[in-house]
Structures are given as structure tokens and as C-alpha cells.
């Protein structure tokens, strides 16, 4: 059966890795002990783990595979960059050999397009997309939804973007800068920060830049954290009360227990398919560890959306190409096939009911004349 799409990704934790192998081992075998898992896992060559059927609400469906690059979850750091690029290249070769027409690159895998193009193996008839445009769409929708649920006026808010100069960070900045009072851009590379700030300022946005995460974070009302932080406390410990924090990184490691009471952490960049997805073998609950069905990373869903549309093109090509227009285009395509922003949640569970309760609280506070809404 020809493949419409392939998704390349990796596991975010040893728990997730263990669960994938447990499904593959089958119900009759004991789980692999943790110590053996860490010995065995890094040796698996990248390959397909399961087949996926994704159905559009329009009635048709597309068929693809999920390919795991088997990057050990504790080896995502810079030290292992070259080794991991090798793994992702091998996964890409696997996708090409499988005949997939479009490939979405999840998590670290997007480095194949964000780095130099020599990272990609010979492509044949396969096209690659980072999938980041749909991730940006869902991050932006999530921020707007959470602000609406909490009764926040975005036009008065200061937005901090951590990891602002990357593909997703800069895309979010372009989409949200016109909607907020002020944008603070944080990243490691000052030259790239200056370039992005100049672009946003030219569009009329008020922009500050900083390479020091702790410097301006206390001023933020809304935070989008695109970079997966090695020390989340550096950010979370500095935020003011009532901040909204969107964890758009991978792995997601911002915990609501680390923030001040009144702050809200939610996972961003996730979509939900109303048409549904089926997996063979059934690793759905393992790959998509969400409290809602048919939820997936925006970056992975982008490939499925494009396949459903029959548009086998490199829609998201890497650093700096994500514009507001492209975001609107991909979210329109996604919506046509029943793929929308997933219900908001964090590591403690669903949030929208809780957010609504906070909204009610905000109303009460405003009525009581306590000033700015929470």
C-alpha cells in the first residue's frame, strides 16, 4: 500500500519509550526493566513503529507511518547533536524508502530542514515539512483561547517569547506582536534577536530583546516557551503572579506546581482530529499521551493535513519562513478536514473548566474594583 505520509519523531521520556516497547512486546511479556531498556533502546535503528490512518471529516482518509528515530530521551542535549542528526537522517532515509510522499518532522527531527540542506538524504519523490506552521497556528490559538477564557485583554499584555528566533518562536512573534501591548523576545543569539525585533518594530510593535531569560520575565503577562528549558525554574521562578505560560517546547517540562499561585501553565501546539486516527499496532495512547482522544503535535499533523489536501509540498521549510498568512492558510486547511486546536490542558489535567472558573474569579475581582483582570 503506498504511503501518503510519514511522521518522524522521538520519545520525550524514558517512561514513554518503555511504553512503546511494551506495546511492541505484546501483552504476554513482562515490561523490559528500566536498566535494560536504557541499554537496549539506543541501539534500535530508526524504523517504522506503526501504521496510521487519518480520516478527514470530508470522508476520505490518508495512510502513513510513524517512524521513531530512537533518540534516547536523556540524549537530546547539544552534546549529542551530531549523533542525533545521524539518527534523524537514517529515519528520513527510512521514510524515503517507504515511499512516503510527505514527511513531517517532529521535535529534534526538524533540524534536518532547519540546519543545512545537506542533512537531508537523497529524497526521490518525498517532500519534507517541519510542520512548524501548524504548530505556530495551534500555539497562537491556544494563547488567544486561554486569554479569552480568563478574560484577559491581550492588547494590554506583555508577551515574552522564550526561544524567539527559532522557526516556531519567530512565527508566534509575527502572529501575536500586532495583538499585544509589548513583546519581549528572548534567545541566545543577539544578532538574530535584533533582526527579528527590527522586523516586528517596522510593523508597529513595541519590542524588547534580551539574552538573559531572568532579566525581563517578571514583566510578562503571557509567556510562550518554545525552547525546552533545561532548568525551567530559571523562568518559572521569576514570573509574576497571574502569568499565562504556554509550554510549546518538546519535551514539555513546565509544571504548574513550579509557578506562583494564580499563574496558568498549558501545553501549546497541539491539535485534535475530529475525523479520528487509528494506529496499527495500537500505540495511540502511548504516542499521544494526552487526556483527550485524537490529539497530536501540530508539527506532525501538518503532514497529515497536507496529505489530506493532496498538497505534497514542503510547506514549512525551516527557520524564519513562517508568516501570519501561511499560518492562516494551514489552519484553514486543517479546519477543513476537522483538525482544530486541542482542548487546553497541562501536566495536571484538563484546564478549560478551571480556566473558566478563573475567568469568573476575574470578573468578580474587576467588579470589586481590584484593577487589572487576573
Amino acid at each position: 500500500m503506498p504511503l501518503d505520509f510519514a511522521l518522524i519523531a522521538h520519545q520525550e521520556s524514558w517512561r514513554a519509550a518503555a511504553d512503546v516497547l511494551a506495546v511492541l512486546r505484546g501483552p504476554g511479556r513482562a515490561p523490559i526493566p528500566d536498566v535494560d531498556l536504557k541499554d537496549i533502546f539506543p541501539w534500535f535503528p530508526p524504523r517504522a513503529v506503526c501504521h496510521i490512518d487519518h480520516r478527514s471529516v470530508l470522508g476520505h482518509s490518508v495512510h502513513g507511518v510513524y517512524i521513531d528515530s530512537f533518540i534516547p530521551p536523556d540524549r537530546l542535549g547539544h552534546k549529542y547533536r551530531e549523533e542525533n542528526i545521524g539518527r534523524v537522517r537514517a529515519a528520513a532515509a527510512c521514510a524515503i524508502n517507504s515511499g512516503a510522499r510527505i514527511v513531517s518532522l517532529g521535535g529534534f527531527s526538524s533540524i534536518l530542514l532547519e540546519g543545512d540542506s545537506e542533512n537531508l538524504p537523497e529524497k526521490g519523490g518525498t517532500v519534507f515539512t517541519t510542520g512548524n506552521t501548524l504548530t505556530v497556528a495551534f500555539v497562537v490559538q491556544g494563547v488567544r483561547k486561554m486569554c479569552a477564557l480568563q478574560g484577559r485583554d491581550m492588547s494590554e499584555a506583555t508577551l515574552l517569547i522564550v526561544g524567539a528566533t527559532g522557526d516556531v518562536g519567530s512565527g508566534c512573534a509575527r502572529c501575536l506582536a500586532p495583538l499585544v501591548h509589548r513583546v519581549v523576545l528572548n534567545a541566545r543569539n543577539i544578532d538574530r534577536l535584533r533582526g527579528l525585533a527590527q522586523e516586528l518594530s517596522a510593523g508597529g510593535a513595541a519590542v524588547d530583546i534580551t539574552t538573559d531569560l531572568q532579566q525581563l520575565s517578571a514583566q510578562a503577562d503571557i509567556v510562550i516557551c518554545v525552547a525546552s528549558l533545561e532548568s525551567p525554574s530559571l523562568l518559572l521562578g521569576r514570573l509574576g503572579p497571574n502569568a499565562i505560560i504556554c509550554d510549546a517546547g518538546y519535551p514539555k517540562n513546565l509544571s504548574p506546581v513550579d509557578v506562583l499561585e494564580g499563574c496558568t501553565v498549558f501545553f501549546g501546539g497541539l491539535g485534535q482530529s475530529r475525523g479520528g486516527m487509528s494506529f496499527e499496532p495500537d500505540v495511540h495512547r502511548v504516542l499521544h499521551r494526552h487526556p483527550f482522544p485524537n490529539v497530536g503535535q501540530g508539527c506532525l499533523m501538518e503532514g497529515m493535513v497536507l496529505a489530506l489536501e493532496g498538497r505534497f509540498e514542503p510547506f514549512s521549510q525551516g527557520r524564519g519562513f513562517i508568516t501570519t498568512e501561511r499560518v492562516q492558510e494551514i489552519e484553514t486547511l486543517a479546519a477543513r478536514h476537522g483538525i482544530h486546536l486541542a482542548p487546553l490542558y497541562n501536566a495536571q489535567g484538563p484546564l478549560e473548566e478551571a480556566a473558566s472558573r478563573t475567568e469568573g474569579l476575574a470578573d468578580e475581582r474587576q467588579i470589586a474594583g481590584s484593577g487589572r483582570a487576573v
Binding site: L21, L24, R25, G26, R29, I32, P33, D36, D39, I40, P42, W43, F44, P45, R47, A48, V49, C50, H51, V65, C94, P281
Partner: protein
Amino acid sequence: MELVTCLKPSLATTAPIWQDVLAQAVTGELIAVLNYTSLAEISEDPEEVADALEHAESERGHAAAFTAEGEKLGIAVPNNVDAKYWKRLRSAFLRQIDARDFIGCLIIQEVMLESFAVASYKRVGQVAPGSLGNTFAAIAAEEEDHIDHAMSILKTERARNVRRFDDKVHELHTEVMTTLAEMFAREDADGHCELCCGTCVKPSLPVVGLTISELRGASLRHYLATLDTLGLPGEMTLAWATQLPV
């Protein structure tokens, strides 16, 4: 001269470890000699007979080379083709011989046993000192070279009937790879391997820069890559590999 003085104590310390490593290698090569000799007996094509006998001779040469490396270290390298894991592997092969299943024999010897031999010899070749390392590396390369013909036969066989071929590989995988996985497990669940001179060598391997988990991992990876080359679906062989005992 100074170099020799430096190396001697190190080799003296590690000689018992190399002795056990070499004992496994020599025994594996002798099993291969027996397997290829048996294969020659059931082959009907004279070219295949000659090929099998040539391989048997080549494996005998490898066994001799490993034994000679032991002598250079001043150690006698034992071998035991009846040691429990090796005996199980030989028995699995003989069942294919009894069934006169030439393809089954090739799958066991060329795909499964050679994968473990090539990958583990390569790893040992990277860390073993001097000529010992060179010998392991050279034999790994030779083993890798001679499987081309077998792979060609196996690919042709798979093309005839994919389902039957893949089922056959799975059946043999369940038996042979389970034995190899147990052999390369962190601990021997059934006691002594009947080949190591003293206690199990596995916990001592880090002294010479090896671990049993990396030998196992590298071997499994090589095996999966060989199955890829034959055209078996990667998701299927991945599941097989995860189902092996640890």
C-alpha cells in the same frame, strides 16, 4: 622497550578476560565449521557444495587465528561446541539440515549467527590491543564480505513467496535469536555458560572497554539491518527484536 614494559602488566591483568572472549569466538567459529560442513552434505548444486566447504575452511582458519592470538598472550584458549548456548544453536541448525532446508540453514548461519559475529568482532576489534584487535577487525571484515552470495540467494527466495519466507525467518528468529539474546543477556539465567574459565566474564568486560549490553545492542542492530537488506518490513522486525528476552 618501554612500551612493552607498560603493556605487559596491563595484558597480564586482562588476559583472563581475553581468554574468555577468545573462547567464545573460537567456539563460534568451530560451530560455523560444523554448520557449513553439514550444509555441504545437503547441497545438491556442486557450486553450493564447494562454496560451503570453502566457508567451512575459512571459519576453521578464523578459529586458528583466534587461538594463535591467545598463544601470543600466553593463554590457552578453550573451546566447547557442547557448551549450552552453542549446543542449542547447533541443534537449531541441525533441525534445518534434517529437514534438508537449505534456505533455513542460510538464514540461521548467514543472517543470525554472522550478524552477531560481525558486530561483536567489530566492537572487540575497536578496543582490543595490538594484533588481537587487528585479528578481530580483520575477521569481522571477512565474515561481512562472504555473506553477499547468501544474501542474493535469500532475496531471490523471498521474492518467490514473501509471506512464506518472512514466516520462516520469524520461526527461526524465535528459536535462534532467543538463544543468542539469552547468551548476550546481562546475566545467565540458567547458570554458567560452560565456556568461561572461571566465573562469568560479562561483569569484567568493562575492564577491557567492552560491555555485554553494547555487544548485544550492536549485534541486534546489525541483525535488523541485515533483515532490512532482505526486504523484511522494519516495523515487523522491530517488534520481533523487542520481544526477545533481556
